[in-house]
Symmetry: C2
Subunit: 134 residues, 2 copies
């Protein structure tokens, strides 16, 4: 398991922890250099994961049209208000959505321009594929 094969070439790289069975040293070095920092990567994954759920994606799609209160949002996407509220909490925590209270209603809106951009860009491309292979 602690077999030193090409680790001599990698010895100079302090950040290359896993020297196990590397075939192309330069490719590995380049890949590791291109990996985003921990926090950045985690943030990226969180945003993508937030968009990676149908319910949340519907919420985003709905809010891309109008700001909406929770009960209308729930009706729009055919989901319980409780489930919507739970998801809104997550989206709020990520800064993707913001809520504004007006009397008894709380109006939610997208709070992040680049999420809209990501969404419409993805929609564009997936739209192509769906149209093509339908």
């Amino acid at each position: 398991m602690a077999r030193p094969r090409k680790s001599d070439q990698l010895a100079a790289m302090a950040d290359l922890v896993c020297d196990d069975r590397v075939v192309h040293v330069d490719a590995v070095r380049a890949a590791r250099a291109a990996l985003p920092e921990g926090r950045t990567l985690a943030g990226l994954a969180e945003v993508f994961a937030a968009l990676g759920d149908p319910t949340r994606l519907k919420i985003i799609a709905a809010l891309a049209q109008n700001e909406m209160c929770v009960c209308d949002l729930a009706a729009s996407i055919a989901t319980s208000e409780s489930a919507v509220s739970h998801q809104l909490r997550g989206l709020r925590a990520l800064g993707l959505v913001r809520g504004r209270r007006e009397g008894r209603l709380v109006y939610y809106a997208l709070d992040d321009a680049h999420v809209t951009a990501l969404y419409s860009q993805a929609l564009d491309h997936v739209g192509h594929r769906t149209t093509e292979d339908a």
Copy 2:
């Protein structure tokens, strides 16, 4: 539970199944009209979910630099080859990645330009936030 409040105004809409407690009828109608079709929405969510996992995100980031064999990929992102192989299967199934065998090695590469675009766009924006509030 079967309270008819504004359902008279909604009666004409065959696609509005959930007529439960709707406050803003027009907003709900617009939101529902903007919701992508089932397959499209599922496809969108799948792609986003694929990018929503740190391990897969690292794979994408690495492959955005070079095509790589599995063991180098595993070394690059400090994950077991088995785990990488499992994830590659999913990415392959989604058409995000393609593999090319050369002898004993299988070189993987990104197979979807728009995933690269999504990734770099998100990286761009998350990079901003990380730089700002560091």
